[in-house]
Amino acid sequence: MTISQIQEELIDEFSMFDDWMQRYEYMIDLGKSLPIIDENLKTEGRLIKGCQSKVWLNAELKDDKIVFTADSDAIITKGIIAILIRTFSNQKPEDILNANTKFIDEIGLKEHLSPTRANGLVSMIKQLKLYAVAYQAQLNNS
């Protein structure tokens, strides 16, 4: 699926809920199903700065696509990461770079998009995109 198809799917899923509590419960469930990062990949270097909770993000290139795995010690943060990973993992660097994150607003999690929010969602997106930039350069050179 393309990134925008996945985003549509997420918007669809979240539209079933009519209050924030159900949305959060769903997000927490998504967090629990997150593809957990390997314990030995939870290094200082993979920590994302700017989060009150700890977030580790790992990226690997498989063929021409980036596979992201991640974890957090806070479960709501994990839910947010799960949504991001579902959207951006297994995608080509170029597509990741061209994608926007408006869907976060549309699924009712807008408050997490503020750059001053301590959850670091914005830092996470930046980090995902930085990996995409790096891997795209690598692909172009090979």
Binding site: W20, M21, Y24, E25, I28, Q52, S53, K54, D73, A74, I75, I76, T77, A118, N119
Partner: protein
């Protein structure tokens, strides 16, 4: 005046607002307090009616503004029972006051001198001193704490020696609410000839300290935690220290005479008040002090103690909830975690229910390190909070627990 909670709440316009569709329950008073209308009016009145620069003009407006600012200084003097008004130095806040003193001591301390901090401090009362040690070669020693979050005074006594030059401890811990035995801490330091700075940022909205009785050398606080505005605070400095310490910043206001060969400094307090100060802030700080005294600190303390006891009891009924900071006689702060739920998760859910608490390390990472936790959820109460609000917190925390486990 009897303590009338409904009347008091009506003084604070912000308490009428809603957050995320729920009535605001503001339990982050240790970070900053809300402001009563009379303080807000005082700022508006200054800018509407007598805004002028102070200590400089011969014109009437400047005189009015200068008088109001100096009257505020006298209000602080009286409130804290300070001997001379010129020992009250206006700062931008606690952090500024601490840095001012630390900077002055870089000309006094020598390599090998010792200075003592406590394990319970806010980063504001740690980092400036570490920087001072780097500049001077002085050595930083730490008074340890116990599991209740109280300082171990016997260990403090062992740290003191004739090498000790300065001790700096908070009056009340912002992360745990512990009230430190500052009178004893000061006396023991003075016995070895060391000076003492007390960080009163967290204390002054709950306690009215008598600085002459304490015989403290430096006492710092911030107006914004005492119903006053942000960007203004007080540094009390004993006159002898005011003479001894060099100025912190150069500029207007702090000089007696300037030539290109030599400048002579103004006397206290102006020596430490370079530049145009936060005039409206200083005046409104005075108004806030008047307001708190009109309610009466004894009443405030008695009421807050009841709220704290109620909150503690109700929260402890939640299974798996652990409170950090259990020293007797603490102020109205409850710092807690539930099992291994991350404090950030709890804070996020209760915020959705209109309740403002703080989560994280509360700028006191060494305390979190001691307990081996990433942080806590901290509810901190003021005299305008109610039992109904405590009930709302407890219900919200229960809901959060349900969602998060």
């Amino acid at each position: 005046m009897p303590f009338d909670i409904e009347k008091i709440r009506a003084d604070f316009p912000i308490l009428k607002r809603k957050v995320n569709g729920y009535p605001l329950v503001y339990l982050d008073n240790a970070a900053t307090s809300q402001k009563p209308q009379i303080v807000i009016d005082s700022i508006v009145n200054y800018y509407s009616n007598y805004n002028a620069n102070i200590h400089r003009g011969v014109h009437s407006l400047s005189q009015e503004a200068t008088d109001a600012y100096e009257i505020a200084r006298q209000k602080l003097q009286k409130h804290f029972n300070i001997k001379n008004a010129y020992e009250v130095i206006f700062t931008s806040g606690t952090t500024h006051g601490i840095n001012l003193v630390a900077s002055g001591f870089s000309e006094i301390l020598k390599k090998g001198d010792e200075i003592i901090v406590s394990a319970l401090e806010h980063h504001s009362n740690i980092v400036p001193w570490q920087m001072l040690c780097e500049r001077t070669g002085a050595i930083l020693k730490v008074i340890p704490m116990n599991d209740d979050g109280a300082l171990i005074i016997s260990a403090y006594e062992k740290l003191l020696s004739e090498k000790t030059k300065l001790v700096f401890v908070n009056h009340v811990s912002n992360a745990l609410g512990t009230v430190n035995p500052i009178k004893e801490i000061i006396r023991l330091a003075h016995d070895v000839g060391a000076a003492v700075l007390i960080d009163g940022a967290q204390a002054c909205s709950h306690i009215k300290p008598d600085l002459q009785a304490l015989d403290v050398d430096f006492y710092v606080t911030s107006a914004h935690k005492m119903c006053g505005p942000t960007g203004i605070g007080m540094l009390f400095m004993k006159e002898e220290w005011g003479e001894k310490l060099p100025p912190y910043q150069g500029g207007g206001e702090m000089i007696k005479e300037v030539t290109f060969e030599k400048t002579t400094y103004a006397g206290l307090p102006h020596k430490f008040e370079a530049g145009t100060p936060n005039i409206s802030g200083g005046i409104a700080f005075g108004t806030a002090i008047d307001y708190l005294n009109s309610i009466n600190f004894r009443e405030i303390e008695a009421y807050e103690t009841k709220i704290l006891e109620y909150a503690t009891k109700k929260l402890l009924e939640i299974e798996g909830l652990k409170i950090y900071g259990t020293a007797p006689g603490k102020t109205s702060v409850v710092s807690f975690n539930i099992e291994d739920i991350h404090p950030y998760d709890i804070g996020t859910i209760v915020d959705k229910l209109g309740i403002a608490v703080r989560t994280g390390h509360h700028c006191a990472q060494p305390i979190m390190e001691y307990y081996k936790i990433p942080g806590t959820v901290r509810a901190s109460f003021a005299f305008y909070n109610t039992k109904t609000e405590v009930d709302a917190l407890v219900e919200a925390v229960k809901k959060a627990k349900l969602m998060l486990t």
